[in-house]
Subunit: 125 residues, 2 copies
DNA sequence: CTGAAATATGAATATATGTTCATATGAACA
DNA sequence: TGTTCATATGAACATATATTCATATTTCAG
């Protein structure tokens, strides 16, 4: 439905036209933004983040992860499905076990930067 | 309530004890994980991501952002509040306008890595 | 001081999403 | 082949959260 009724949010005619023009010119397109948001959303849940970090330490089977997280196998499987579908993790079958591991080299980088951010907030005056 | 009833998810006694031990030893603690997830969650919404990316291009006042995103001033203000409280953005008042800008040097880095990820998915066979 | 403009915010609502529960699938073992 | 173990998955449910609507706050113009 957009937000057409109230198109003149600001009354200075166009408030800061140059700013708007610059931002509009250099903005990411909608598809990219949406994919990017979906990508980051995966890191925005503590369970998934724990799984991703654990897998950065070692390949693990589903029941290892369940036990490690102290969560139901079902909950873990559901999250693994999400991570699989987004190609953040891959898996291989070995007998009855399915072993998961990271499938994206950016995961560690992103987490590392996040940790820096957290640490700096701590050490801030 | 935890997940105590079903502590033996896997029956191989303890499935891959060495793996578990290694992961447990090197895992982030809960507080860090939770803060990290909250941090990443901020990037996991398209509106916030648009705002953050726009602010990486230029300082903007609220109504610039509203107009740019074609969203209500209220919706934008609510999201800015979230970003403010997490210290991702800062603001300064100039007359009636409030100008927002990024307050975290990691934002661009994280977005850049995310974009790399997206691009590689595209160029994948 | 009064009204208008820019921004902030509380409550309500609609939607998204994580977990549980029950059950299905698929592999190994007897 | 039938049973058991490891994993996957659909539906239901509960919670989280983004947007809207109405209104409050703050600043400037007159």
């Amino acid at each position: 439905m957009g937000y057409d009724e109230n198109i003149d949010v600001c009354t200075d005619d166009i408030v800061h036209e140059q700013t708007l023009q610059h931002v509009r010119t250099n903005m990411l397109n909608d598809q990219i933004v949406n994919e990017l948001a979906e990508f980051f959303r995966l890191f925005g849940d503590a369970t998934r983040l724990r799984i991703l970090y654990a897998l950065s330490l070692s390949e693990m089977c589903v029941c290892d992860i369940s036990e490690f997280l102290d969560m139901s196998q079902s909950a873990v499987s559901h999250q693994l499905k999400v991570l699989r579908q987004s190609r953040l993790v891959k898996y291989r079958r070995e007998g009855r076990n399915v072993f998961y591991s990271l499938d994206d080299e950016h995961i560690q980088q992103i987490i590392a930067i996040g940790l820096k951010h957290i640490n700096e907030k701590y050490t801030e005056s």
